[in-house]
Amino acid sequence: MSTVFIILQANEETRSIVDAIMIDNPNAVVKREPAMIKIDAPGEMVIKRETIEAEMGRDFDLQELQINLITLSGHVDETEDTFSLSWNN
């Protein structure tokens, strides 16, 4: 199974986003490097707006992810409620 990943800038906002991703994707692995956070997951990663809002304590639009996004790997599917990455293999 191929790995999908997302890399985010390391800052106060992404702290909540990373926590949310780990809650919804228990098989994901976090790798921290200077100024950035890489999250790998086998096959698929689903990021949920509701979970982020619960962690962050405010309303969150998933498109705001773009401000802190560095790079990613996998096919993207975005709706109002979820942002997911997947490979078809």
């Binding site: 191929s2 800038q9 200077p34 802190n68 560095i70 790079t71 993207v76 599917d77 709706t79 293999n89």
Partner: protein
């Protein structure tokens, strides 16, 4: 009485459809062929442009909002960096050679990319890709701007930055990136989007940006980290545009497969050659190393590429030609190019130097199969010459590859002791190449590549300042003894060391 009128919210998909797709219309008094004259000549067949899916579904109002926020954050940090003499936080001023190469070669490529995407945004008949390409075009000009701004503070204190625009156009090593984009921009819109949108922005982008930006983070360069992250947040959209375009082309018609595969092969080859500059930077120009080029290739090339090509296999796509060779070449190319840049350091608008003993030990540990066997002996010989007062400079100008325009200093796959040289005679002229891949690219379209502007050929023809080396230096705005040569003994080194010591002394 309080009455709350409930506002009906349009869903993201519907909002996107209303604000973008409905911008297209069926033409009445001009034919589609006249309005989109480049849409079919490449042989790519598109039957239904509405099938192009934009994963990010970004509308212009969201675009402006998020981009404006990125800009505000970016410039706040750039101001703080300048105000606080952030330049003194870098590990060493030798690190700036990496930035000088970036400003002279890569930032101009961002601007070229802007032009290219503006063009294809006009040439594609589908509204979805039109909107995405136009946004990318604006992103790329923003990248050029933010890079120039980020480095402008270094320009106030250090040499080699001031004439990046002249060097972009005229100096020799920048033509590697310049010709890469000229090649894409003079191709048709579909080749452009595969070349830049997919091959470069998807397959290879992480290898350009993550090392440079991590290198900046590890070496105390806040300005570059900031611009890097600001740009990378746009790159995710670019990556998805590229991936979506290749999927779309392959799904529209099976006849598109061989054309797309041929472009993948070509652009992977050109992309790998371009990335040699990054590999050299990572292995030799960062006082505090992040990882080796070999390691970066393993993570962002081999691993990530495997996932991607396994996914695309269902369309009949195979990994690009030359993919198999990277397993070997990843342990050689950075050393080969740095040895070249060192010997021609009289002609670079950045400093070169001999790696220290610590540097060489690091290189030995990261390249256990190749460094001590093939490259340490050459550096040791160069060190010996320097100690004898005869620092090695090669005034014989490099023979450039007609396609990728790098000096043809790479070795034969399977034999690191033999230079890889290829040549083709076309219309009674001889053309030279660094590899099978570059020769193949030339042979596919010789009429295109015989028009390439090669810095060395131009110099010999008297077109680069008209005279010898001095005239050439004037023409490329290279200040001899200031911008070029060895880092040790340079004005950059003297100044950096002096200013650093002033920060902790009252003398």
């Amino acid at each position: 009485m309080d009455m709350k009128a409930t506002k009906k919210k349009i869903g993201m998909k519907e909002k996107y459809r209303l604000l973008t797709r409905d911008l297209g219309w069926e033409t009445t008094y001009q034919t589609k062929e006249d309005i989109y004259p480049y849409a079919t000549y490449e042989g790519i067949k598109i039957h239904d442009w509405d099938k192009w899916e934009d994963p990010f579904r970004l509308t212009m109002d969201s675009y402006w909002k998020y981009q404006a926020e990125k800009e505000r954050k970016f410039y706040a940090i750039i101001d703080a960096h300048a105000q606080n003499n952030g330049h003194l936080n870098i590990t060493d001023a030798s690190y700036l050679s990496a930035l000088k190469i970036f400003l002279q070669a890569i930032s101009p490529a961002e601007y070229a990319s802007h032009k290219g995407f503006a063009r294809v945004g006009r040439e594609f008949p589908g509204v979805g890709p039109q909107v995405a390409c136009q946004m990318q075009s604006i992103d790329e000009i923003r990248h050029a701007q933010t890079q120039i701004h980020a480095m402008s503070n270094y320009n106030k204190y250090y040499n080699g930055f001031h004439a990046f625009a002249d060097q972009r156009d005229r100096i020799w090593y920048t033509s590697v990136a310049r010709s890469f984009f000229d090649d894409a921009m003079s191709a048709g819109p579909f080749e452009f989007i595969i070349a830049i949108g997919f091959s470069f922005e998807y397959v290879l982008t992480n290898l350009l940006f993550v090392p440079f930006m991590s290198g900046a983070a590890y070496n105390g360069d806040m300005a570059t980290v900031t611009f890097g992250f600001s740009a990378q947040s746009d790159e995710a959209r670019h990556m998805t545009l590229g991936l979506e375009c290749i999927k779309f082309m392959l799904e529209q018609d099976p006849d598109n497969l061989p054309i797309v595969q041929k472009w993948l092969d070509k652009w992977f080859g050109r992309g790998m050659r371009l990335l040699t500059l990054v590999g050299t930077m990572m292995d030799y120009m960062l006082p505090k190393r992040v990882m080796s080029w070999s390691e970066a290739w393993e993570i962002y090339g081999e691993e990530n590429g495997k996932a991607l090509f396994n996914d695309l296999a269902r369309y009949g796509i195979r990994p690009p030609k030359g993919w198999d060779l990277t397993g070997e070449s990843k342990e050689h190319v950075s050393h080969q190019l740095m040895l070249g840049l060192y010997q021609w350091r009289f002609g670079t608008s950045f400093h070169g130097w001999i790696p220290s003993n610590d540097d060489m030990d690091w290189l030995s540990s990261k390249y256990p199969n190749t460094f001590d066997k093939y490259y340490r002996p050459r550096w040791d010989h160069i060190k010996k010459l320097e100690a004898e007062g005869k620092p090695f400079k090669n005034y014989g100008l490099p023979k450039l590859c007609q396609t990728c325009q790098l000096p043809a200093l790479f070795t034969e796959p399977g034999d690191p002791t033999s230079l890889c040289q290829r040549e083709v005679t076309y219309k009674k002229e001889k053309y030279h190449f660094c590899s099978d891949s570059c020769q193949d690219t030339f042979n596919q379209e010789p009429e295109k590549y015989i028009q390439a502007w090669l810095p060395m050929t131009q110099l010999f023809q008297g077109n680069s300042g008209g005279g010898g080396l001095d005239a050439w230096m004037d023409w490329v705005s290279l200040q001899d003894g200031v911008d070029n040569g060895d880092y040790h003994g340079s004005e950059d080194q003297k100044n950096f060391d002096a200013w650093k010591s002033m920060t902790t002394s009252n003398k």
